[in-house]
Subunit: 425 residues, 2 copies
């Protein structure tokens, strides 16, 4: 098929009319399809069903003797810490196990630094206008936290191998009010890219103007491979320690997409000094995390190897869905010169770029035809994609059949929106 950009006005008009007629048929069907958020499917959740009854009535004691039913154990039970430590290749005393939400741990860390400062630091909110670097497209809920705390967000371009590190280094080293950066280093949300060794190395050797600058390293997809190849990223906690920057990185991960999205276990990892500081807050803030749920996870997965072999089962369910999306995009949009998309080897998303100025229209067209997508712009600070081109595709939740229908509608919407755009000039 002819590339849209080479068509004359007459050809484009004919194309637009044909696509519009075609699209109205989708609208008439009145489907209800959802590719909005990175949510595991029924089939994935069922993989952990045996966890629901894996604790017997006399199985409630952690390895350090703590009764998991009772109070105590503010930062998690030793065997749960060990699983996270083994997965992240750090030591158990660099781990704090929380409740069911790593987002809550990130929110709380930002809240704490705003009101009380980092260890031995001045509260961020007393230093002036706090700023965060936001590699984009990125994770909308990171940006929501900044927005909530009135933290100014500075967009940094996201490349194939991570954030634009020239920009990161220049900003971090010159502005002491830049206190943080959001990173999803492996199978990034939404682009699915993996930070290169060189990128991580440059993070490790940052020379921040602010002594209380922190890297929010949201390793949400640390073990979420789609294929046989497992991307590896350097161990930022170990490397920062070696480089004399031990307190700079704050690592987050969770089992939300390992066991049950709403009832899993989350963790934070950092230097012993940072963990000690956070434990002091925890001792005032809460009676401790749900240790029975931690024990349930330990009994079910047994160890880090058990988690990794469980992840193969997730991959087997997810692979056909990602393949279907890729194949549909290639078949419907390949060679038209009107779209680009990523083909990640892990994580939960495919990032899609339309021709500039089309993303909002595509999402709106999809909504008219019953396909819910993440709002256009959500992957950028303030919900504002300056090129209005990025759309996050979340293929994990719908069954294969529905996903196929949704992608067909999506591609039809892309073509129609692009033809309209070219016609409008």
């Amino acid at each position: 098929m002819k590339s849209y950009v080479n068509m004359n006005k007459q050809e484009l008009t004919a194309l637009r009319d044909e696509l519009s007629l075609n699209f109205s048929k989708y609208k008439e069907k009145g489907k209800k399809l959802n590719m909005m958020r990175g949510v595991p499917s029924d089939e994935q959740l069922a993989l952990s069903h045996d966890m629901l009854a894996c604790l017997s009535a006399d199985d409630y004691t952690a390895s350090n003797g703590i009764d998991c039913r009772n109070y105590g154990g503010i930062d998690g039970i030793p065997e749960m810490k060990k699983i996270f430590a083994d997965l992240l290749e750090i030591s158990a005393d660099e781990v704090i196990v929380g409740g069911n939400s790593s987002l809550a741990l990130m929110f709380d860390n930002v809240a704490s630094n705003m009101s009380h400062g980092v260890r031995d630091g001045v509260p961020w909110q007393r230093q002036g206008q706090v700023k965060f670097l936001c590699p984009s497209p990125g994770y909308d809920r990171h940006f929501s936290i900044c927005n909530y705390f009135h933290i100014e967000m500075i967009t940094v371009a996201m490349e194939e191998d991570g954030p634009d590190m020239d920009a990161v280094e220049a900003a971090v080293s010159s502005d002491p009010m830049i206190k943080g950066i959001w990173c999803v280093p492996k199978y990034s949300n939404p682009t699915g890219i993996v930070y290169s060794k060189d990128t991580v190395k440059r993070f490790v050797h940052l020379k921040p103007a602010a002594a209380d600058f922190r890297i929010y390293w949201d390793n949400a997809y640390a073990f979420h491979y789609l294929g046989d190849t497992h991307a590896e990223i350097p161990n930022i906690i170990r490397l920062c320690e070696e480089a004399g920057n031990p307190n700079m990185p704050l690592v987050f991960t969770s089992f939300s997409k390992v066991s049950f999205a709403g009832a899993a276990v989350a963790c934070m990892a950092s230097s012993k000094s940072n963990c000690e500081f956070i434990r002091k807050r925890l001792a005032i803030q809460t009676i401790g995390p749900d240790k029975l749920n931690q024990l349930r996870h330990v009994r079910f997965y047994k160890d880090a190897a058990g988690v990794m072999s469980h992840m193969e089962k997730h991959a087997a369910i997810l692979r056909p869905k990602f393949n279907l999306v890729k194949e549909t995009l290639r078949r419907e949009l390949g060679g038209l010169g009107i779209a680009e998309w990523t083909e990640p080897k892990g994580g939960y998303f495919i990032s899609f770029d339309s021709v500039d100025g089309c993303a909002k229209r595509i999402v709106s067209l999809c909504a008219e035809a019953g396909v819910a997508l993440t709002p256009a712009g959500a992957t950028f600070p303030y919900g504002n994609d300056p090129c209005d081109r990025n759309i996050r595709i979340a293929p994990t939740c719908p069954p294969l059949g529905e996903l196929g229908e949704a992608m067909e509608i999506f591609c039809a919407a892309v073509k129609l929106a692009t033809a309209e755009k070219y016609l409008a000039g």
Copy 2:
């Protein structure tokens, strides 16, 4: 026995020496006994063991169709809200169900009001030095939250029927920087008293100088009766609504002392307007509470009546412990004129007052003999009991035999410390 206060110096010296000799025998025994915190015993925790396996593999859908395994349902599942609403005699849309810790809900509410203000309010931290009223003796962890946020604590005397309301009314109506008051209205921590109808009525009709004044109504022992009589307190949410003060009370409770202390479900209740405001924060802060654990509680207790009949089982275990403490105190200290204590009909504590200036010494003597108590002073703001006389006795955790030994040592310590005190003049 002769009252200490009527003894001459010679008699007191002889008494002190005898008590000291007697006490040294306890020290030699090298016991390890703990009456430090309000922790349920093994026997109590075992009451809920069947909850651990009460969810079958196909039982994960809440009544509104939400999959409890997955994301969603930011403020809890409808059937869990209903149980809390029925217990608190309010409506389900006045309830927000959280994670496992009501302390965490209180901490977060204070944090939120400090940094962002109440709904349509100015952040507390931007208004000047924030102050809270702290009826004392009170709950040390409430005071720790204030301390953490640099909130000035103003002690208010605790009477038989609640806080000194003359003092509360005078302070709240005159000082706009008084933003909150901590209350444990039923079986108060530590005195065990129940707020009278008149006290609650005066709370309802407070005329705060600060429009953003809030009553932190920690109804931690709402259903924690020891005997057949159930104390009732007026419904502060309903009454405040009727009085045109709907947003003033924030009610907290939890199942920490119903099911598992570390793995229960907590809730917050307030006006619909306050709940709506809090849900907005929650949507940024977390992916939602553990809904499977909520469903587990719903399946096990079924409804509010199921919770109440479960509480009878707790009472049957706790009653002999409270009785043993009361009997030992009466037998060993009754009529000596050197101590007063409360005899609560519910809750988790007995509050003990020694002669002024003896509490620290008693706690320290007990520690020497292997009995751990809540630190003297902990029940007052800044850990400072101005009369150095209040000690919180927590009899719930140790088995009856150990509790008897601990109370014997405690009474011996009280007598020795008092004799020393009178001798010193």
